[in-house]
Amino acid sequence: MFHIYCPYCAEYREEEEFHPKGQAHIARPADPTATSDDTWGEYLFFRDNPRGVHHELWVHAVGCRKFFNITRDTRSYAILETYRMGDQPSVTAESMILAERDAECGVTSTATMQGVPS
């Protein structure tokens, strides 16, 4: 079980209160009628399945019932950050690679872990 930080309730809550809702930041084509079948099919059905950093949409179903984003490492299940709808992630695959490189060079990483296993 995890304690997940809800950016709207502004506190850590039990994982039981949340539901995952798939990949985040999927933009709907601006003009569906002028969109090719391939592009529309990509939008509707095709999702990333990365090994490592993944940005996901979650809902605080038994709480404030707001949707928000979680950046999660699919290898370790570590939650790297949570942020509100409309915001952009500060932790990305690229920033993680840079942080790892810095760590190898002996530079202290400022990335903080938000997921606290309970």
Binding site: Y8, C9, A10, E11, R13, E14, E16, E17, V62, G63, C64, R65, K66
Partner: protein, 224 residues
């Protein structure tokens, strides 16, 4: 055409209203009881939705309550209680018969703003746990941390309760309220009676049914 659709749940002609817990009888251990359980039936529940900036002044002027904008907070006043549910959603609980009048007064005051007010009185009920072991009963029932040190008076959360969900709020030092769905009320009450057995839980049912009627016709005229 009127801008709002109003539904008066307390019509002029008396209609019998039944508590979702109407079929329960009193139960008490007989020995010293460390927790009491009561239903506050037939209160009026309204869900207010809108941006805090839109709601705050109107709530103050119509209800005399300060809109709680901090997450997990609750204000108690003469008019009733107002609880934060989400950044743009609040639960207002007032005395039976006050809801319709206040709903109209709020709608009039909010005018053309973007908002919604829905009467959910029939969909939920309030249970009160009172006594030194109230918190012990809650600790067995919810995943939320209800330790009194972490859960001050005036805090309220929506969380998991048993295998259902409930609004859990602390309204006094040893006084807690649960707001449960009508359809879960039977299950939640049975759960509480079982969880409270070791503390000699004392349950006295509310009046099981009332012939509801408009509180006062003159009150109605004041806002229409």
């Amino acid at each position: 055409m009127p801008r709002f659709a109003y539904f008066d749940p307390h019509p002029a002609q008396a209609v019998t209203t039944q508590s979702p817990l109407h079929h329960f009888v009193a139960s008490a251990s007989g020995e010293g009881s460390a927790v009491a359980l009561r239903e506050h039936a037939f209160l009026d529940h309204l869900i207010l939705r809108g941006e805090p900036a839109v709601m705050i002044d109107v709530v103050q002027s119509v209800l005399g309550l300060t809109l709680p904008t901090e997450p997990q907070t609750l204000v108690l006043g003469d008019a009733g209680s107002l609880q934060w549910l989400s950044p743009d959603e609040w639960l207002l609980i007032v005395a039976a018969g006050d809801g319709f009048r206040l709903q109209r007064a709020l709608c009039e005051a909010l005018g053309k703003s973007h908002f919604s007010i829905v009467d959910v009185s029939g969909g939920q009920t309030v249970l009160e746990l009172h006594g030194e072991c109230a918190v012990a009963v809650l600790m067995k029932s919810t995943v939320y941390d209800v330790d009194p040190g972490r859960f001050p008076v005036g805090k309220g959360v929506t969380s998991v309760f048993a295998k259902a969900t409930a609004v859990i709020r602390r309204v006094g030092e040893e006084r807690w309220e649960l707001i449960v769905r009508r359809s879960f009320a039977d299950y939640c009450l049975r759960w509480l009676l079982d969880a409270g057995e070791e503390y000699g839980i004392d349950y006295q049912p509310a009046k099981a049914r009332v012939a509801s009627a408009r509180k006062s016709a003159s009150n109605m005229e004041a806002v229409s």
